[in-house]
Symmetry: C2
Amino acid sequence: MKLSDIGGEFAFIRRVTGVPNADPAVVKGVGDDCAVLEYTDARYLLVTVDMLVENTHFSLDWHTPYQVGWKLMEANVSDIVAMGGMPRWAFISLALRADTEVEFMDEFYRGLYDSARRHRVALIGGDTTHGRELAFNIALAGDADKRFTRFRAGARPGELICVTGTLGKSEAGLRLLMAGRRDGCLGGYLEPCCRMEWEGAAIARRAGAMIDVSDGLASEVAHICEESGTGARIDREKIPLSRDTIDAAHAVSGDPYEYALYGGEDFELVFTIESDRIKGLRKEFSDFTVVGEILQKEEGLYIASEGQRSDLKRGYDHFKD
Amino acid sequence: MKLSDIGGEFAFIRRVTGVPNADPAVVKGVGDDCAVLEYTDARYLLVTVDMLVENTHFSLDWHTPYQVGWKLMEANVSDIVAMGGMPRWAFISLALRADTEVEFMDEFYRGLYDSARRHRVALIGGDTTHGRELAFNIALAGDADKRFTRFRAGARPGELICVTGTLGKSEAGLRLLMAGRRDGCLGGYLEPCCRMEWEGAAIARRAGAMIDVSDGLASEVAHICEESGTGARIDREKIPLSRDTIDAAHAVSGDPYEYALYGGEDFELVFTIESDRIKGLRKEFSDFTVVGEILQKEEGLYIASEGQRSDLKRGYDHFKD
């Protein structure tokens, strides 16, 4: 039986996890951006892992080794930021090919350390081995103020749904590259930047629920609704797109809204917030857009576009062909 | 330039790590079985990562999926036990092939959870993706009594060098399999068991330095000497070998002492201890053997065999030739 036969990646994860554990230190296990553990009186410990595999998450035809190292760290930091936390300690596992060059790895580490410095992360452990294709894993630990740690659960009907920055830029870059185009804006795909800790923390102090965008806006809002027991409406035309993303989509006859809804790895933040707290947040952090509203569960989960209502497809799933 | 040109895996790790970090919570970063972090007043937090890659660490011709899951968890727990700690929380990253079957993964997780139950580890996070060959990474966190956390550093001249159980059994099983033999004792390679937490803790209360055997006794003693600034003598004939390991070596015309010294993945413990503490340890835990002595640095690092002195070659290195 194939993994796709049981419903893909998320179904597989549900199948093999969920074994109960009796450890009172575990505040939240599988099912959020990070695991959350008791740490000090005032702070939780957060832990996340992310693996990048050659030809799945990056291609050496497209990415420089610097960009691979950079992306690996940003993808992990994004999960900590999405809970309102501060990333602190990274542990890297490397499967290198027999023909991997020292110069390649020096550049990989330069990218990794540049991102680590940006977020004040210390690389303090790892494992080095070899394989037939490159695979890199980071385990990243951080901590967060208990009062302001934000989960996927926590959204309430009436709260507004917001996203930081613009969406679809990673997918736009990927589509250009797949079409053989090296012009246009490839940076969103090749060298994504996650949001900074202070931005995540400013949102976390006021938000209901928060998650980062790694599988597309639709998938992330669905996660929030599933964990919060709510419905949601996404207003398609309100989704923020950059000029570059729109141009890229037009260049390859794509739809930039589809990139935003179903593309991966934008590493922006999606959060829910009561409308009367928006003004306070804007004083501290203003690079976000309202794109919808949390609804009662019975009202459903859908995208509104020009008065029409359409179902939410799920975002990128590794095993759902 | 190839990684082997700069001296292999350990030289590569030295090249890309060692960036200083100013975080006072980091007690020990790269260079021991685990990273060690401040945690509570009385306990340290320990973190280790280990990656297993298809055709490097396991072969589906030889290993059942159950055994791959089992070995992955045991290899990680071993690093925590080797510092005197208790493993607690695991995070797994999986790169699966497009043709990986659900039944395979169910068996893999059965092995993983059986080992996790043995050590009371909770699996509380992960990342699932795909690749052309299977790669599995575990990040494992645990904690340890600050008074009895043991490092590679900490050995002093005059202390005895001890190993738990018997050595060479993993290499013996591998050699049998490579020779096409399915008889004989393959379990040391296919389904290794690391030492239990209570065993590591009993040793840690009395030891100077401790490390687990993942790359052969010679390599582990060399690590202890390097970190402790000492020399050492290993008495070759004292190295404990099982009847099965000796039989396996004879069956394939190998030397079981070489397997013990330079083979990998026995997941036993090597520790140093003052001679007058041996008796107290034996009352609590007795499955160990004295195999040598820590010397002054000037006395060198060597293997003594029948009155002869020979140099220590290093153990398994992923990128040396």
